[in-house]
Point group: C3
Chain length 318, copies 3
């Protein structure tokens, strides 16, 4: 990857490339790195003067720095700035460069994977060792299904979906009807799972299929490890769901919401677009949280200001 | 499935079949459906007038309705009632019909499953792709073991047990003895797991074997995804355990108890028969909750009335 | 295993072996057992008079008893004491004997395991059915990798590491950079996982690789089922982590700390050596808990004395 490639990637075609001199433009960088591991073929990034000082001590060949940062003038001296390239958002640029490198990954279906006869597998989709994809599943282009993943037949994935090892998509939901003798009969769990494009799903996460209808995960949503998403949930676009979050059946989550680790949502909960719920927060069945950008915390979840005030009042009692 | 079949299934043999006219008796229904997907060969159910209005707009061939419901008289007019069948409990009837359809599922052991030599596999038991059943395990009749499940050799399953993908039954429990230098030696984990009949176990759930004795799950108990059940626990019959519940070692749970999502129980806890513990509730080691039908909440768990009173008092302080 | 073997194992070579008469020294014991299952070839242990009374009713061939216990004199009478052996710490001795028996387990790589070409597998390392070990992974000697485990290529295990079924080591961490349009680009997740010796990892647990650097688990640390450890965490030596604990990225945990079930730690948290955090306790991002042997509880976690005082004050309000 050359500076010209980065320039094109970041939409800076005609622009002065910060402090990188023309002669570096043709130089090839082969990898991203942290400061400790960087060599001359590595790209690193720095978000401020302190980080830049560390970066300059490394052997990195290229350092992405903020365009408008109040960087130490001495740092940006002629002796060192041959390695720097100013961009709008160094961390984002670094991530985008990472994505660019991934394009060269070869798609491969491991011979030990079990892919049923009636599976539609998109182009450039990888399937890891021991993964199982059952009859009826549909996978888009450029998906990466890791080892030992299970995808039931009722699941449909968009493009560029990443599923990490051990995740289970499309198992039966937890719905039972009680008989008079106290035993339970499973309510039919014959629905589907529809997952959008650019969704990423963590290791050992489980997403159940709808009972009769569908469970939906919107485009661009990212889900961490060991998350549970129940039957008939509808999760919006670009939602972030951290590890061990549990979402009961038929809950709806708006676009851009953020659920921190171990959050628990009852069934038929409604989380508005852009709501942020802090770690271990809980919402009782049927309740609603709303307000884009609003931060909630605690169980039952309340605006963080109220949550902190409650903590302080209890502390004062002691 | 014909109306006569349903009549037999629900124990209504000699009875007037609600509003379904005689000529419909021989008609065959092929599936269950939600209203949106229903066609003339589909059975749906409605629990009241609002649902029935929706059901009647659908193309469903048969609508299970409550026998005694205060249904809108116009709805039950001659023009439409040819599609209705009155039953005691439409949702339960719908679930039972679902069970009836499942009888036609063919049992199959996938060639990629690993079943050790010394495994007793009951009749009509299915084993999914990539599942592993180790030497010594005993599985009853009509079990359904999904893909990528692991069953250690110390596990014994009753009849009609359903284990969803990725679940792990019989791993070693978490028991260690501390040495003086601060390191830990594993206490022997050489016991067994005994699971009753009609138990259902969710995706990626883990149930550990006993240390020396056994871990027991009673008949008819239903367990959701990502649940942890520690060594030597004794779970009663017809217990419901929702997703991400964690149960530490040697805890006892009485028949018919209900644990909502993310509940956490310390070791040697005693949950009485019929106790209901709300989501994220926690019980400290060695404690007891008792009272059939009593609802508990919070950590440490208390009767829900006390829990709500506590929340209200703290709120008033603010 | 003979009494002489036990004597050697426990470092009691020249010592009087409690109450076991010389003639028993050559007798062979074949297994450990609980009282209910014990036969003449079984070893059991008792930590006090009540347990010893039970043990003496069993058929156990050898009973490990405390050296200095105020055992009932009648129990230690000549008629019965032929079966007893006094040791410093019967439960620890029992665990050490268990470890001794394990030495005879044959290491085996199951033919259905997928081990990539470029994997370094130590001597006497077992790999279970359906397990997947990807290119680049390094496993030490005497490791036991159970069925359906996934080890990504970036993982390095020390000696005698035990990984139970379904665990996933080395998946990508949960790190994203937000774009202005609300979508997220994955931050590069190209680091490694380094796991020390004598570490044990529970079923379906997930340990993510570092983003750029490494995730570290120290020697002797024991991790229960369904635990999540995020990218770039550094967990010390001899730490105990109970089931369903969630540890966010870049958190540091000191040697000998204990995290009870369902504890949740935000990112960049610092848990000091020897700290004990009670079940369901939570620590907000960036916070520190310190004090060897100190017990913390609640969310946000506080010293247990303060936690209990808070509970009592709220209760008094009601």
């Amino acid at each position: 990857m050359t500076v010209a490639d980065i320039r094109a990637l970041l939409g800076m075609p005609g622009e002065e490339i910060g402090t990188v001199p023309g002669k570096a433009t043709g130089k090839a960088f082969l990898r991203l790195a942290g400061y400790a591991d960087a060599d001359r073929e590595s790209i690193v990034f720095a978000q401020g003067s302190a980080e830049l000082a560390e970066a300059l001590k490394s052997d990195a060949g290229l350092i992405l720095v903020p365009r408008d940062a109040a960087l130490d003038a001495a740092q940006v001296s002629s002796a060192v700035n041959e390695r720097m390239m100013a961009v709008d958002h160094p961390k984002l640029a670094f991530a985008l460069v990472g994505q660019w490198f991934e394009r060269f990954r070869q798609a491969e279906v491991h011979p030990s994977a079990t892919i049923a006869t009636d599976v539609a597998l998109g182009k450039n989709t990888s399937v890891g060792a021991g993964a199982v994809i059952e009859d009826g599943a549909v996978l888009g282009e450029g998906c990466v299904i890791a080892s030992n993943v299970t995808i039931y037949g009722c699941v449909r994935l968009g493009d560029r979906v990443v599923v990490q090892a051990g995740a289970v998509l499309g198992a039966m939901g937890f719905g039972y009807v009680r008989r008079q003798d106290g035993s339970h009969v499973r309510f039919p769990q014959q629905g589907t799972v529809r997952i959008g494009s650019d969704v990423e799903i963590g290791a050992n996460t489980t997403i159940d299929r709808g009972a009769l209808g569908e469970t939906v995960i919107g485009d661009g949503t990212k889900i961490d490890n060991l998350v549970h998403i129940g039957h008939n949930c509808v999760v919006g676009k670009n939602v972030l769901i951290a590890a061990q979050v549990g979402i009961s059946g038929s809950t709806v989550i708006g676009d851009g919401a953020v659920l921190a680790g171990q959050v628990g949502l009852g069934d038929h909960v409604n989380i508005g677009p852009g709501v942020v719920l802090g770690g271990q927060g809980g919402v009782f069945p049927g309740k609603t949280l709303a307000g884009a950008g609003e931060l909630f915390a605690g169980t039952p979840a309340e605006p963080v200001k109220d949550y902190l005030r409650g903590l302080a009042r209890v502390r004062r009692l002691k």
